[in-house]
Symmetry: C2
Subunit: 206 residues, 2 copies
């Protein structure tokens, strides 16, 4: 299957389906339908069937989807049947929270390294990690082959740190800094700016 053939909007829904299926599995359910999954995620049953059909035939007419099987398929498609190492850069409140976040363990990710440039923080402990000097970032990431980073530095430093991450071989950045990043072709960025999330909603408010 060619990655380029499937619209990103479909890819963006697969993790949401996966999360909902994992929650169903956690409460002991074994099968589900596109209707039921749709109600769980707020997406129409028809859209779910159409999205999943891009990748194969996962359900059976009448009996629906086997949850464990569909989870395996989605984990394979999203490449999270393995565990990805992640670096966290910037040990402010948000970097702290992400370094200690318990929600990655069974979703395909683990934080393995944290960085800051503040001498008062370097060498200190955050969760299970010793904060490393940003000066070591490129070498440390190159040596360990880390491909994912979460960026929690101030907006003013975000592009400069991004350039270092790209130089180090990072291919995907989850950006908490409130600024758009410029990256070379082939590097992916996702943005998690709480103000943007709130502004998307206030538009609709009376």
């Amino acid at each position: 299957m060619n990655n380029q053939d499937i619209p990103d909007i479909i890819i963006s829904r697969l993790p949401i389906y996966l999360r909902a299926l994992r929650l169903m599995q956690a409460v002991g359910k074994q099968t589900t339908s596109s209707q039921e999954l749709g109600e769980a995620v707020g997406i129409s049953a028809a859209q779910i069937r159409k999205d999943l059909s891009q990748f194969g035939e996962f359900g059976k007419q009448g009996t629906g989807y086997d949850i464990a099987f569909l989870i395996d398929q989605l984990r394979g498609i999203l490449k999270v049947e393995r565990v990805w190492d992640v670096a966290v850069v910037g040990m402010g409140d948000m970097g702290h929270a992400l370094s200690r976040y318990q929600g990655f363990s069974d979703r395909g990710f683990r934080v393995v390294m944290v960085f800051d440039n503040d001498p008062a923080k370097i060498g200190g402990q955050v969760g299970q990690f010793v904060v490393r000097d940003m000066k070591e970032l490129v070498t440390a990431i190159q040596e360990t082959g880390i491909k994912l980073a979460m960026l929690c530095v101030p907006a003013s430093a975000a592009q400069e740190v991004t350039n270092l991450l790209v130089k180090a071989g990072v291919k995907a950045i989850l950006n908490y800094a409130p600024i758009n990043l410029s990256v070379p072709e082939g590097i992916r960025v996702q943005y998690l700016d709480p103000s943007i999330g709130l502004q998307r909603m206030t538009y609709y408010m009376g």
Copy 2:
């Protein structure tokens, strides 16, 4: 202008334009073009012109956009020319980080109240706030008329707390809990789950 007429995908891009324009203004720029703005946000100039044209004529042929004027217009459209009070529920690491987050102040939001249900946390200080008992949530939010909340409780508690927020009159929830929420018509939810952000990117990785 009728809110219902404009696709949500367009609304979702306006906060990104606004953020980029604010950064341009911060470095002393006075005018910009759809080309320049497009490069800053990674969206085509044609798309930007099309998006903005939904709301009026903001640019001039040849001279482009007056940044201060366009910022004012976008703040008006997104209803963030005012400051919205926000409650934070759940004082784990993420709730802590958001309660102390400095990035809301000039984006239209301020945290005014924080809640937890843990007796060890209730009454304690987080940033400038005293943590309030979740039992007071409905009354406190009703009395103050808060319409926005950030939800940072565990997935297992998220739906229950959401029901309380809706009961209290909250109209928009920024959800950090890794679970889809069920809300009545007219209530908006935006999701900021870091694992989902990462999974959207690993799909594309070799």
